[in-house]
């Protein structure tokens, strides 16, 4: 994992002093609400429905046991004992007091964490695939590049007041689990024919009101030019992105209005000025950053583990968890474990402080003291010995962390919605729970891999556009309704879902999902995933199941 040196520490110390002073001036009436707003946002502080909300960055998802314990401490001392994992590898606390925030930031700094630029119109936390460094199919470990981007973007003096927020994702694996194509900039690591490392660069992806899949503007950017090229994109966006209308301010709109090829030309022109300048990455810097992500001290283990085989043959519940929640690891004898934070009856992605401490201990015991959080709001122990899996699973069971539904319909992405968020049209957490309760474990397994994403409004924090099934909270004459879309996907073949038809009341939603699933189960060929069946059949049979002939009577909203 990346470790801070004196420069990184100083940077955080300066930031905390700055924000402490700003908060004091705000509380003393010397800074107006409007003037304080972007300052607090750039320190992760929203003011929400019930209280301020603090969003803490977990850069590219990596978290140490020490850091996790600190998050638990913060949850206990400054919040109501829990935190919420987000789709952008952050953790949110829903109840801190404004005056405490500088102190919380000081606590975070002790463990090399911060809330810098986790909100506001600036470059946000850079995210990546949670299997970086351990995936069997990796092109190159994205984390060193993410750290390089983190440093470049932190307090970038030119880009602190962009037209709108700006999100970057980097993917170095074959199976994109980082929703890279729906980011303002998506970077895919590649190797060219000479085995040199570079990036395929996409711009203008995003969700929100106007969902867009990013467009390629560079097929191969040699790695040393990463930062100068990013600088060039950001400068074009900063100058030309729309500032007259908040809903048209994201780079996706600029790219659409300009046209991809004209946009590319503008970036190239800007880049000529910056290219080969001081931002050019040096080998020394690349090596320095890569060294933080070298393999831990893996043991030489046989591929098979008899302890594991025994447990699998004697304990069906364990076998079911193993089948669903573990993934192949690049080292023999090791496994990647995903702890699915989606147990029915618990808000998706919420962890209480006991669980945090418990997982921190497990990570220390079983996975070199590190864990990762995923954009699907789950947690990963990336380096678990197969021999230890049964012990780990038994431990997880003692803290409600053994949910064996990873990747299944009940492993939903779900935003905080109307329970917490002042922008919500509808509550999303109760809908998630009602759906989870509708399906038995057996049934979920028969349905197989299916992503279901729920957002409480069109801001799309819950990624509903890219769920195989998407649920969006809408307001219909003051009542909470839910619009269903089908066919979305966030992987390498990213796709935006299409709305099926008129929206449904909250009570109807579980039935609706059931009907959709039935259509799939009736029509699927053996082993075919939901998304593939949908792509083969199209919308019609689903529409028919939901509306029969009635759909013409409604107006689509």
């Amino acid at each position: 994992m990346y470790r801070y040196d004196q420069y990184d520490h100083q940077m955080l110390a300066d930031r905390i002093a700055q924000f402490r002073d700003q908060t004091q001036r705000f509380l003393a009436g010397q800074l107006s609400d409007a003037e304080f707003l972007p300052l607090r946002l750039q320190n992760g502080l929203y003011v929400q429905r019930l209280a301020p909300m603090l969003r803490v960055a977990i850069p590219y998802g990596m978290l140490s046991s020490t850091q996790m314990r600190k998050l638990a401490f913060i949850a206990d001392h400054f919040d109501k004992g829990y935190g919420h994992l987000t789709t952008r590898q952050n953790i949110q606390f829903n109840w801190p007091a404004l005056a405490d925030v500088p102190e919380i930031l000081a606590h975070l700094a002790e463990v090399e964490m911060h809330a810098i630029q986790t909100s506001g119109n600036c470059i946000r936390n850079t995210t990546t695939d949670q299997f970086a460094g351990v995936a069997v199919d990796e092109v190159e470990d994205a984390r060193a590049y993410c750290e390089i981007i983190r440093q470049w973007s932190t307090f970038h003096p030119e880009f602190a007041f962009l037209p709108r927020k700006f999100k970057i994702a980097v993917c170095g694996t074959q199976q994109d689990q980082a929703a890279t194509q729906v980011h303002d900039i998506g970077l895919y690591l590649l190797k060219n024919e000479n085995n040199e490392i570079g990036f395929r660069v996409l711009v203008g992806g995003g969700l929100g009101r106007t969902p867009v899949i990013g467009s390629e503007i560079k097929a191969f950017l040699p790695q040393e030019h990463l930062l100068s090229y990013l600088d060039a994109i950001l400068r074009v966006y900063n100058r030309e992105g729309r500032r007259d209308n908040k809903y048209k301010a994201r780079i996706k709109i600029l790219v659409k209005e300009t046209g991809t090829s004209a946009f590319r030309d503008k970036v190239e022109k800007e880049w000529q000025l910056l290219k080969d300048g001081p931002l050019t990455l040096t080998n020394a810097e690349l090596e320095r950053c890569r060294a933080f992500f070298h393999d831990p001290d893996y043991k030489a283990l046989p591929t098979q583990s008899s302890a594991l085989e025994n447990a699998l043959s004697t304990d069906v519940l364990f076998a079911s968890w193993y089948e669903q929640n573990t993934s192949a690891h690049k080292k023999p004898g090791y496994t990647i474990v995903t702890i699915c934070v989606k147990k029915t009856g618990f808000a998706p992605g919420d962890l209480d402080s006991d669980q945090m401490r418990f997982i921190a201990d497990l990570a220390e015991r079983y996975s070199f003291g590190e864990m990762r959080i995923t954009h699907t709001q789950n947690l990963v122990l990336a380096d678990v010995e197969k021999n230890e899996l049964y012990n780990l699973w038994q431990a997880l069971k003692t803290r409600d962390l053994e949910a064996d539904n990873l990747g299944l319909l009940s492993d939903m992405i779900c935003c905080p919605g109307g329970d917490f968020c002042s922008l919500a049209n509808a509550k999303s957490i109760p809908v998630a729970e009602a759906i989870q309760r509708r399906f038995s474990a057996q049934h979920l397994r028969e349905i197989g891999q299916l992503s279901l994403n729920i957002s409480g409004c069109m801001n799309a924090c819950g990624h509903h556009h890219v769920g195989n099934i998407g649920i969006l909270g809408v307001d219909k004459k003051g009542e909470e309704y839910f619009q269903i879309s089908l066919g979305g996907s966030a992987d390498h073949n990213a796709a935006l879902g299409k709305i099926v038809g008129p929206s449904f009341s909250q009570d109807e939603v579980p039935d609706v999902i059931d009907k959709i699933v039935n259509v799939y189960q009736q029509h699927k060929t053996p082993g075919e995933k939901f998304i593939n069946t949908y792509n083969r059949l199209g919308m019609e049979p689903f529409k028919e199941a939901l509306y029969g002939n009635k759909s013409d009577d409604h107006t689509t909203d």
């Binding site: 420069y7 100083q10 470049w152 007041f161 020394a284």
Partner: protein, 167 residues
């Protein structure tokens, strides 16, 4: 009619007169003995008048105007002012950097408009070297802004090397 201006880390008095967007020839004529900062449109359309003035003329750009527009006359300009219509408008940061980086401008770049204490550090990094603070800003507090950070990761005008080339 002096502006409260921060320059080179101290408060200085300053005699440039800033003329608003609606400036016309008559207004400039009555100011013939004063150094004035005119809007871009005036600068572009009234070069004859400007070159006949006995005192100095500078130009200010609004946030939607780019330095390219004055690229040809930068060697004549002792000062370019960049306006922040509101402090959240980040375009002037790029304009300042472009003036320094692309056009090699070495004269004064002055921040005008909604210029607040909490943005001064980043402004200076981007090449601003004079700051006409909004009237209500406390000068003593503002002067501390330049010490907000000890160092920075990125290269900028104040520090041409990124931290990774120095650490």
């Amino acid at each position: 009619m002096t502006t409260r201006l921060i320059k080179s880390g101290t408060l200085v008095s300053d005699n440039w007169v800033l003329l608003g967007a609606a400036t016309d020839r008559d207004a400039v004529a009555t100011m013939h003995d004063r150094d004035v900062i005119v809007p871009l449109s005036f600068w572009l359309s009234e070069q004859d008048l400007i070159s006949s003035r006995p005192s100095r003329t500078a130009v200010w750009l609004n946030s939607n105007e780019t330095p390219e527009a004055i690229a040809g006359s930068l060697d004549k300009l002792a000062l370019v002012a960049l306006n922040f219509p509101e402090f959240k408008d980040g375009r002037p940061y790029s304009s300042a950097r472009e003036l320094r980086q692309r056009f090699g401008y070495t004269g004064e770049i002055r921040a005008i408009g909604d210029v607040l204490r909490d943005q001064l550090f980043f402004m200076r990094r981007c090449g601003f070297d004079a700051f006409a603070l909004r009237d209500d800003q406390d000068i003593e507090i503002a002067l501390t802004a330049f010490n907000d950070f000890t160092d920075a990761y990125q290269p900028a005008i104040d520090q041409p090397l990124p931290l990774f080339r120095r650490r």
